[in-house]
């Protein structure tokens, strides 16, 4: 399709109407840090581009009852510096702070990070570990989907042509909870994740693991929950030897999962995961309050 129109939207209603009207012909642009590259490489060729970067209704971090809600067009820099996200969930801010470079973080948005469907999206493992829910809107409907069910394939999410990701939300932190995030990249800035891991834990005073959720990046076609490792840890006391066993177990899972992948993945990630996972879990435990 030939690009005919770029529409700078100001209101959410306007966006939803345009999507209803144009459906497959339209694509939404927010920060554009992935979008513009895809456009240049002709991987996407929309007829209509709807720019949502200045739609205030999509740009917010707020408390809503028990939840924290983050608007889809909220920039990484805003998340990184948010005072609303608690110290216990600092891992989410860390994840946003690991995206690309300051320039990319000043443009790129959390909604774009999710909807682009990259396996290496930095904020998604943290949101998965928080048990986040995607709030999706269309002209006549609003629906909620657990983020872990939102992915279809590499680069593909469950959005109908007339739908937009409106926000993500997760339960605010409670005493005993913590989130840790670690990204292993090949350098300290502008790095695409080799592995990223976010661990959410809830413990009692004796470091018994009451609940745990693990989000991973760059270990599958899209960011996923590592439920087998979660099940292994749940109910156990998080002593060093238990953590060590869990990391070994995680490595074994990856050996199987990545068996068919190129050497740079299958000969590396099942082993490198151990250090990354341990650090993420320890970070989570260190911020539990």
């Amino acid at each position: 399709m030939e690009l005919k129109k770029v529409i700078k939207a100001e209101k959410l209603d306007e966006v939803l109407n345009l999507l209803a009207e144009n459906r497959e012909r339209a694509k939404v642009i927010a920060g554009g840090t992935d979008f513009v590259i895809q456009l240049r490489e002709k991987k996407i060729a929309p007829e209509v581009i709807i720019d949502i970067s200045d739609v205030d209704e999509l740009n917010f971090i707020r408390k809503s009852g028990e939840f924290i809600e983050i608007g889809a067009a909220t920039k990484f820099t805003t998340i990184k510096n948010s005072g609303i996200i608690s110290d216990a969930f600092k891992g989410l801010k860390d994840a946003a702070g690991h995206v690309g470079s300051p320039q990319i973080r000043n443009l790129g948005t959390v909604g774009g990070n999710i909807c682009n469907g990259s396996p290496a999206a930095d904020t998604v493992p943290a949101l998965l570990a928080l048990g986040a829910v995607a709030v999706v809107k269309s002209k006549n409907n609003t629906r909620e989907v657990p983020l872990e069910e939102f992915y279809l394939d590499r680069g593909k999410v469950k959005l109908e042509p007339d739908e937009i990701l409106y926000a993500v939300k997760f339960l605010n932190s409670k005493p005993g909870q913590g989130l840790g995030f670690v990204k292993l990249g090949l350098r300290n800035a502008l790095a695409i994740s080799s592995i990223s891991i976010a661990v959410f834990v809830e413990t009692d005073n004796d470091i018994n693991c009451k609940d745990v959720r693990i989000g991973s990046g760059a270990l599958a076609k899209f960011p996923i929950r590592e439920k087998e490792v979660e099940a292994f840890l749940k109910g156990k006391t998080l002593h060093e030897d238990v953590i060590e066993e869990a990391t070994e177990f995680f490595g074994k899972i990856l050996e199987q999962r990545l068996a068919g992948r190129p050497p740079v993945e299958k000969d590396y990630k099942p082993y490198a995961i151990k250090g990354v996972f341990k650090e993420a879990l320890n970070k989570a435990l260190s911020v539990v309050c």
Binding site: L184, L186, R187, N188, A189, I192, Y268, A272, G275
Partner: protein
């Protein structure tokens, strides 16, 4: 576990084309009507600072400020050939040619001054800020622009410098293939994550013999740049070559270090003037990179006891080597 290690390395490096190959630079120095001096030479500025350093040299010869040197290069229709900006040769080779041309111009200017000022000899004549004057009687003075006004054709001097190297004996490998040589040394401390194979260079010290520092700030810039390039070469830059296909064919996957990866580096400039060089200055373009790589590899060995013999030492390769060592020891 994170383990730290230290490593050092030192190198010597022959600058210039070498091995008897004719290594020639040419330059003109030309007096301008306003008393400034133009240098014409085919030296190429590729970001290394050639225009600055090669303007400082004639300014020094002629007692002018750098602002009074008009440096004309990279235009082959009006500049003489000065060879390539390669082989760490421009400061030494073209610097020499420019210095010689400027000296010729200086001698001519003095000769004219002696005549015009009706002096017995050139003894005690000084050249400073576009004026030639008698130190013991400064009223005896003539300016460059006054001399320029007297000329029918612009006063212009030419010089050629050819470096002295000898082809080595093809049978014995003996001879003097390069001149001058330069020396450098590097020390680094690294931190290796034994569980991910990631190497972080946490600090470095880097010493470079420069002969004479024509421009210390530019030299430090070259040293920082050489350090970064070597870090990229040794621990980051991987083409991902597989059956003739390059996987890392873009700068998002073929990665070079960013400022976030660079450690604090202590640069040490060593001045040991070279007597065939312009004011003793030798080239440093390439040598600033060479010692950094082996120093990093030595530091990795010191940290984890693994001797890496293939670069780049990517986290995947290093982790594999660390695991093999652990398995062997177990």
């Amino acid at each position: 576990m994170k383990k730290r290690g230290k490593g050092i390395a030192c190198i010597f490096y022959g600058t210039g084309y070498g091995n008897g190959f004719p290594d020639v630079s040419r330059a003109y120095a030309e007096l301008q009507p306003d008393g400034k001096v133009a240098i014409y030479t085919g030296a190429t500025e590729v970001g290394q600072g050639a225009k600055t350093a090669l303007s400082q040299i004639p300014a020094e010869v002629l007692g002018l400020s750098v602002d009074d040197i008009i440096f004309i290069n990279e235009d082959t229709s009006i500049t003489p050939d000065a060879g390539t900006a390669a082989a760490t040769r421009q400061t030494y080779n073209t610097g020499n040619a420019i210095k010689m041309a400027a000296e010729e111009l200086r001698n001519e200017l003095i000769k004219i001054a002696v005549k015009e000022l009706e002096l017995n000899s050139d003894i005690g004549l000084k050249m400073k800020d576009g004026k030639i004057f008698l130190e013991i009687y400064p009223d005896k003075c003539i300016t460059f622009s006054q001399i320029a006004a007297m000329q029918e054709e612009p006063l212009r001097k030419f010089a050629v410098f050819t470096a002295q190297t000898v082809q080595i004996d093809p049978e014995t490998g003996q001879g003097a293939p390069y001149w001058p040589y330069t020396f450098s040394a590097c020390a680094v401390e690294v931190e290796v994550d034994t569980e991910t194979g990631k190497v972080e260079v946490i600090r470095g010290a880097h010493a470079q013999d420069v002969g004479r520092a024509v421009n210390p700030t530019l030299i430090e810039g070259q040293m920082d740049g050489g350090f970064a390039m070597a870090m990229g070469y040794v621990i980051y830059e991987d083409l991902g070559l597989e059956n003739g296909k390059i996987w890392n064919n873009k700068l998002s996957s073929y990665i070079i270090p960013t400022s976030m990866d660079m450690p604090e580096i202590q640069n040490i400039i060593v001045e040991d003037p070279e007597n065939t060089a312009p004011y003793g200055a030798k080239g440093i373009g390439e040598p600033v990179m060479i010692s950094v790589g082996p120093a990093i590899l030595n530091a990795i060995y010191d940290a984890v006891g693994v001797r890496m013999t293939e670069i780049p030492v990517t986290p995947a390769k290093l982790l594999k080597a660390i695991r093999e060592k652990e398995q062997k020891e177990a």
